[in-house]
Symmetry: C2
Subunit: 334 residues, 2 copies
């Protein structure tokens, strides 16, 4: 069928997954024809990890790259993504959903870039030394935050704004010398949730060359979302930002238990429970929609976008071409 | 003379010093008739220290208390201050000018309180996970900050707002179940500097039972300030807040070099120089005024306040009685 053929030709990129990977999940990358994934290398309590703990996570991924060399390769450039496509493997960008690895030390950006950490979210669910999160008042990018973003620009590290507050997000878009990303999130005007992004921010992001990775994560798009509705949201975002600024960032979280979810949300900063993107009424994992329950399902997205009426060129851009262009530039040291 | 007699009878408290103590400086406490000092146990790069490093600072002070047992005693209550007065020694409250010792772990408040850390500034010169500093935009006390202040209230740890931003300061004053302090600072309306405090904040602080420690630190009160002008500032603050809410917090920094000052201001968060309370034009230490160059000079303050026209009762309150009342309550676990 035409869509699978198109899918097989495409460079396919999922700009954020946060699973507890094993061989089965890495084989799913191949089954789904996924050329590149930005992986959250620390999840659960490790989202709060410091420089020392992050060194251990880097070591763990060194082992995974050795053990699963038939399936995955490390990625620090757009060319690594093209090479992975040619080799039938998946290029892995190592990332973190928090900037705590840098602690209070601006010079660690360079050191961790050398170790392959090339995408870092400025905050998770609470403020960091860099700026505010989307869940509480936000005074914007701090002086330390500006220093860190300057170093990220220099060493080819993507600044991820997904969980970041509105003011810090806008400040970063305007301050950064290079395009930045919301790797996993949706337009707030399409689905009202504090983790989703305002039209103002998304337009500013696009105007500065940035990217939005649309997420089929139930808390951010609604439970039981259909493929048709998801593709309409993609079209909505493309109308808002320009089709060249949208891609996929699924936020797929596989093989993680409820305890891991609460650890990630609460860290050590609270004794009372906190629910992050969830609520007390819905504290647990919500199922991913039927069309993207696992990486092997990615061809459904390609087919859905074609069925929605996107041109083949636009589908190729959305499923990976846009992210490839973004990573070609953004991962390159200045 | 009457003033030295009054001074010798007084409970005398300096609510913040940040020196590099040795026997000579501890003997100066005795020479100055100082009953209690809140000491910044980490200075220089150690202001940025984490839990692990703070354990080492605690151990260092354990040694100092042993080595100089003829001069100093550890203090975790108002009664410890009274006992020090009776023994002719100086009671030492261990404090830190940053909340980084707690890292992201709200339960560390209790643990460090057990170890004797009973006064913690919520931020130094850049934002922390708890809130904003006075040197950049400030969105207020964070959710983690509220959790930490709740624990500080519970375990008898003073929240110090001296370097904290206006919004975080006001939020903390209003949120805290117990009085809080600006241990070292002056009214902004008397001397315009970002480290000094607005009338609104000082009035709110007093209305909730808090304390201001007035500081003869040149950056915060002007170079070459005379004893007469300093005492007029004390009277100004007393008129603003009520005389029962003002005391002394000298910010005396002895035996520290220029490198230590720049380390404290810059930590690891910037590569370009930052000057904190100073400026590029005046990057170094400014001399303390002649009337308070060292702890042994404290009797000059007592004499100056009497000469200004304060009653003996008010002088006793300002030089230590107010802080004693505040510490009686504030250091007691709930």
């Amino acid at each position: 069928v035409i869509d699978r053929d198109l899918h097989d030709r495409a460079i396919v990129i999922d700009a954020l997954q946060a699973s507890n990977w094993d061989r089965e999940l890495l084989e799913d990358f191949k089954a789904g024809g996924i050329t590149c994934v930005q992986v959250t290398i620390g999840i659960g309590i490790h989202i709060w990890d410091d420089a020392r703990a992050t060194l251990n996570l880097v070591a763990k991924w060194r082992r995974l790259f050795e053990e699963y060399a038939d399936l995955i390769v490390p990625c620090t450039s757009g060319d690594d993504i093209r090479a992975a496509k040619a080799a039938g493997k998946t290029a892995i960008i190592l990332g973190l959903q928090n900037a705590t690895l840098y602690e209070d030390d601006v010079e660690l950006v360079r050191v961790f870039a050398d170790l392959g950490i090339r995408c870092v979210q400025l905050t998770y669910n609470i403020p960091t030394l860099l700026g505010g999160s989307c869940y509480e008042p936000d005074a914007g990018l701090t002086r330390f935050g500006r220093n860190v973003v300057t170093e990220m620009n220099r060493w080819g590290v993507i600044a991820d704004l997904s969980h970041v507050g509105e003011k810090t997000g806008l400040d970063t878009i305007n301050f950064s010398a290079r395009p930045v990303a919301v790797t996993h999130g949706n337009p707030w005007s399409w689905f009202n949730h504090p983790r989703n992004k305002s039209d103002e921010l998304l337009k500013a992001l696009a105007s500065r060359g940035g990217m939005l990775g649309l997420a089929p994560y139930a808390h951010l798009v609604g439970e039981g979302v259909t493929l048709d509705v998801f593709c309409r949201m993609v079209a909505y975002a493309a109308d808002l930002m320009g089709v060249e600024h949208v891609g996929i960032g699924s936020d797929l979280c596989e093989k993680l238990d409820q305890q891991g979810l609460m650890d990630a949300r609460m860290g050590r900063w609270t004794i009372e429970p906190e629910y992050g993107a969830g609520t007390a009424a819905k504290p647990g994992w919500l199922p991913f929609p039927d069309f993207y329950k696992r990486s092997a399902d990615f061809p459904n997205l390609t087919a859905g976008l074609l069925a929605h009426g996107f041109s083949e060129a636009d589908v190729l851009a959305i499923v990976g071409g846009n992210w490839l262009r973004f990573f070609d530039d953004g991962l390159r040291p200045a």
